[in-house]
Amino acid sequence: MTIGIMLRAWLGQIMSLCLATLREIFDESAYARFLTRRKANSSPKAYAAFLREQSETRSGHHRCC
């Protein structure tokens, strides 16, 4: 394997990790899990249900100063 290929693979891994982190921080992963749990497709109605569920758990989510 050449250094170029290794570097590309490594950068690809880092990018996908960054994206996964952003998706977790921004609740996109939580929404995907919600859809899997409910066996539903993404729709305004499903997202509204997800937000309702989130608003219950958000009560305990502290954001630091």
Binding site: A20, T21, F26, S43, E56, H62, R63, C64, C65
Partner: protein, 678 residues
Amino acid sequence: MSRFSQIAVWTALAIVGAFSTATIALHRGEQINALWLVVAASCVFALGYRFYGKFVAARVLALDARRATPAERLENGRDFVPTNKWVVFGHHFAAIAGPGPLIGPVLAAQFGYLPGTLWILAGAVFGGCIQDFVILAFSLRRDGKSMTEMAKDEIGPLGGVVAYAAVISIIIILLGATALIVVNALKSSPWGAFTIAMTMPIALLMGIYLRRIRPGKVLETSVLGFVLVMLSIWGGQWISHSAKLAQIFTLTAPTLAILIILYGFAASALPVWLLLAPRDYLSTFVKLGTIALLALGIVAIHPVLHMPSWTRFTDGTGPVIAGRVFPFAFFTIACGAISGFHSLIASGTTPKLIARENQARMVGYGAMLAEAMVAIMATIAACVLQPGIYFAINSPAGVVGQAPETAAAAISQWGFPVTAPQMHALAQAVGEQTLYNRTGGAPAFAVGMAHIFASSLGGPTVLAIWYHFAIMFEALFILSILDAGTRVGRFMLQEALGHLWKPLGHTSAYPSVLATSALIVGAWGYFLWQAVRDPLGGINSLWPLFGIANQLLAVVAFCVATTILIKKHQTRYIPITLGPLVWLVAVNFTAAYDKIFDPNPRIGFLAQARQLAASGAEARLVFNFRLDAVMTALLVLMVTLILFESTREWVSVLTGRKQAAVKEAPFVMTRFALEEQG
């Protein structure tokens, strides 16, 4: 890497770290490059993580990678989800990093760059990181229980009640203090006020877009929101140049305070999806990007620090925060070194996401180190300013006077030369009418950050854009904390009131929502209002109150941690938690005593109340300072109760009068270890 190479690398790092720290500590008279601080912090933090953090993980906490975590055992795809360690790290960092590590170091820079820097280095490695790490690890072993629940289980019911009351008090003071920072940053600033006003319709638009047009596409929506915010910064410049429109957006501090109080109430009572969630996403997006940009900017231009290592204000006569370097520097910088609030996050969402127990060090200890690095960057941003400019921005009118010439003369007399034309030119360059008396830390940080950004990108012509970008970043950050904090406070209050009368505990019942929202907003709004009317700029009273409250919560966290260690028969390791606990008690109890009883009216609340009463000031102003004194005393009393209860528990266990029973979840072998074995 071979063992020899490892030893060589860590030895080299230790030598570089020691040399850099010695350089910043012993340098006198000449200016120093900011890179010395960055290198010292990087080495100290790397060594702390590798050696101290690892020692605590292996010996004290005995983290076991074979033990299933709550995320695995209780996996439900909702709260409990085993997650990649880097993803949890990012998630945890995004939750703990707020405006605190940016504002505290800026205010503490009045003592010089050295006290704050040394405190951030030592405080983070031995205090803040340990607190976050041990609380996270103990919560992991208790099904992700919260800090208040652990206090109740391990110390006793009184511990739980006091921890609960302390959290609500801290939220109220925190929200009042941070709201004041926004007020001071936006007063008489049409550009800033317009930009922040525009973030409201942008957040509403994002909420509707997310809900109706592209459900769940948060990243895409945040990028869209960010572009709109950037456009509003650009538009703000145009507004500030229009005589008619600039007048509309030129707001006084009381007007801004009223608007923020109304906003806080609306954000708490409106549905989450409409305002709170999109604003939270937007501020997180801007926060992560700006912190990364600031780090790159500092490394790229490695500016020179103009602030001396120590200033004359270590004697307690400082204009920004009145009080001696000990204890005042040590609680002024709370979040960058040790923040009790982190214990709530380390025992909140994070333990429910960690897949393997041994990852707790990276998340708990590591994320706090990253936050401490942000605090170092804030110190740099404040200290790159000429000291005269720093003091002109941060000194209240009550100390240096209202007129530019008077203020410049007073500051120059302290040995920090600055002139009125110099300040006028700077204000013009950043697009403001004036930069005098802009207390609170945010404007000084914004000027420093704009200076760093403009030096690497765009030059002096875009200084005004960068300044308002920095102000927008801080205000957005703080307003999202007001949203979330008010809501969390409201839920906690509803939960507590629900014990008295059940209907009040219904979190979605509208009368209860409105009543409890009004109570929480009224409480922090009162502190905000009194600070706005304080002739000394408010931050001199409110920030110490916040710092003390925050670190007293850390005392509670260390009480819980020490109790658990004693019950686990790890008594020989208790200096690891007892050391920071004793230090925090010494700092914060001294600070609380000074803030209540010091005869200097600029320091002591009661002395200030007496002085105001003698000068015939409004009775309400006098009452406000007495209220601050009572609030400080109440916080100390609550924490003293926890200390007393904890000590009683420790003595009972150590003398064998009580059986040492910890409430850990039983050991379950993780499936990940089995999978690894094949």
